[in-house]
């Protein structure tokens, strides 16, 4: 289809190691449509970066085929490179002597822009990424957030149709992260198609239209963040009931009044799992009121992608995050 910017079939990459070949990516299929932001979510070693490196021509697939930005990945890598932008994981400290402006212009010129075009593009892009006035600044003097926005600018100088972001906010403080998210959303609003990898659940949730959950070199789920959450587990309504007798009574009332997936009686509260939390609250309260029970608090929480990941893989991402 003309509107598919990525169409991959059976993409596989094996690496040789001391203990024999290891398949980092095991025959994944992938379609990305124009205008989408797709998040590849998974722990370290899940195959996210390897997938990205294959799709950006940096790594030759061991097997499989892919069309990226309208060109065959294996046979026309130069045509693919012209049309994609790639922002790698954050690198080590830059060399002394590298300046923001000249690095961006050189990158644009390697992408085929003329000197004039490159300068014009710099003048337009730098302010858009809050880098205006920093053109003469040494890369060494940039803050973490500025450096990352500079990296994004490198990938955008030639106005690609498709942008790859590898762990765009790893290592950033929360403020800089939120700031970068704003910029990524602005790119999407401008019609850019983006594929990003992350091991932050909030990031996939906040940015992606569609999330591909990767684990052990395979895609174990592919859906919108909301659909994934809805599919895996329902919403949880927490009813604050300090009195144990009232909790027992309430449990019976709740099971009677609405269809529940699960009710858990914990210390001081009753956790009611339902399909749609928002729709369950009113009938719940009416039934409890009729039985003469009044909870001290009531909260509805949607499952997080963390819960999703746990259900899909039996492991929690937070452990991986802490280890990373």
């Amino acid at each position: 289809m003309a509107d598919d910017l990525i169409e991959a079939r059976g993409l596989t990459r094996a690496f040789r190691t001391k203990t024999g070949p290891v398949e980092a990516v095991k025959g994944i299929d992938l379609v990305v449509t124009r205008g989408e932001i797709v998040g590849l979510l998974g722990p370290n070693g899940a195959g996210k970066t390897t997938t990205l490196r294959m799709l950006t021509t940096l790594l030759r697939p061991s097997a499989g085929t892919a069309t990226v930005a309208g060109h065959d990945l294996i046979r026309q890598p130069r045509e693919v490179r012209r049309r994609i932008g790639y922002v790698a994981q954050v690198g080590s400290a830059p060399s002394p002597g590298t300046l923001v402006g000249s690095e961006l212009v050189t990158q644009a010129r390697l992408q085929g822009l003329s000197r004039t075009q490159a300068r014009e593009r710099l003048a337009e892009l730098a302010p858009a990424l809050d880098l205006g006035g920093l053109e003469g600044r040494a890369l060494l003097e940039l803050s973490g957030g500025q450096r990352r926005r500079f990296d994004v600018a490198l990938g955008l100088m030639h106005s690609p149709a498709l942008l790859f972001l590898d762990e765009p906010t790893t290592g950033l403080d929360p403020q800089s992260r939120a700031n970068l998210w704003t910029h990524v959303r602005a790119l999407r609003d401008a019609g850019m198609t983006i594929v990003l990898t992350t091991h932050y659940l909030e990031e996939a949730d906040a940015l992606a239209d569609r999330v591909l959950v990767m684990d052990g070199g395979q895609i174990v789920a592919d859906d919108t963040p909301d659909a994934l959450k809805a599919r895996i587990s329902g919403d949880v309504v927490t009813l604050g009931l300090p009195e144990p007798g009232a909790r027992r009574q309430a449990e019976a009332v709740v099971r009677e009044a609405i269809s529940v997936r699960d009710v858990v009686n914990t210390d001081g509260a009753l956790l009611v799992t339902v399909d749609e939390g928002a729709l369950a609250v009113a009938p719940l309260l009416r039934a409890l009121d009729a039985a003469g029970l009044s909870p001290t608090s009531i909260t509805v929480s949607r499952p997080t992608l963390d819960d999703v990941f746990l259900t899909l893989t039996g492991r929690t991402l937070r452990d991986e995050e802490a280890a990373a």
């Binding site: 021509t57 030759r60 790639y86 790698a88 002394p96 002597g97 990158q107 010129r109 390697l110 085929g112």
Partner: protein, 250 residues
């Protein structure tokens, strides 16, 4: 490809000019040899040494030493660039792979040409008397050799990817090659076994040619043998380097 090569050349040279510490650092060693070791040679006899001509024998050796160290260690730079992500982001451009490495080696070559010129100029007040056409031809040979060595060094940097294994490797290769080419003292002073061993070292022919050129002896057979060896070695190493770069980025 010409544009891309020039862009890379321009970038590397610009960075070096902004941070020229290494250009000076590279020069300190040969200049120390020139100042602290060179004067001893005046009183050594044999092998064309002794008297004022000692400098014509010694300076070409120092030039080769400078070339081997400057170009040989250029791979350090690419290890840093790998970590920084520079290599990767240049690889995702449509620029030809050859130009990415050729631009770098050309920048190294120009740096070496400047360093070599400084070295020759510093040697003049010490008493170097040489044919200037010979010196220029000799510099051209050295630059060609450096082009190949720097390309091969980048290839090794890309393969080893780590300074801790790269430094001993380069040290381990360059030092015996340098000693076996007679950079400090001519091999004509060597015992037979050492002289024979040095004949399998291509650098020996480069130094011999360079010394003949400094004498202005263009008809000496060492000149054309050295030129052919340098050309072959330079082209071969440059080819190996750019092939490795291509394979590594496939």
């Amino acid at each position: 490809m010409r544009t891309d090569t020039f862009l890379i050349f321009q970038r590397q040279t610009r960075i070096r000019l902004r941070n020229p510490v290494w250009v000076f650092f590279g020069l300190t060693q040969p200049i120390l040899y020139l100042v602290l070791f060179g004067p001893l040679l005046k009183n050594v006899s044999g092998g064309g040494l002794g008297g004022p001509n000692a400098w014509r024998v010694f300076v070409p050796g120092l030039l080769l030493q400078l070339a081997i160290f400057t170009a040989g260690f250029s791979g350090f730079g690419i290890i840093q660039e790998l970590r920084e992500g520079v290599i990767e982001r240049q690889r995702v451009t449509p620029a030809s792979r050859t130009s990415l490495i050729l631009g770098r080696t050309l920048s190294d070559m120009v740096t070496l040409a400047v360093q070599s010129t400084v070295l020759v100029l510093v040697a003049l007040p010490f008493g170097l008397r040489a044919s200037w056409q010979g010196v220029l031809s000799s510099l051209a040979l050295i630059c060609l050799l450096a082009l190949g060595i720097s390309s091969a060094s980048y290839a090794m940097g890309l393969i080893l990817k780590d300074e801790d294994s790269f430094a001993p490797f380069i040290q381990g290769v360059t030092l015996p090659l340098l000693l076996l080419s007679g950079v400090l003292l001519p091999m004509s002073l060597a015992p037979a076994w050492l002289r024979h061993t040095s004949q399998v070292n291509p650098l020996t022919y480069v130094v011999d040619a360079s010394r003949a050129l400094f004498r202005g002896d263009f008809s000496d057979q060492h000149v054309w043998i050295g030129a052919v060896v340098t050309l072959a070695l330079g082209v071969l190493l440059a080819y190996v380097g750019s092939r490795t770069f291509q394979r590594q980025s496939a």
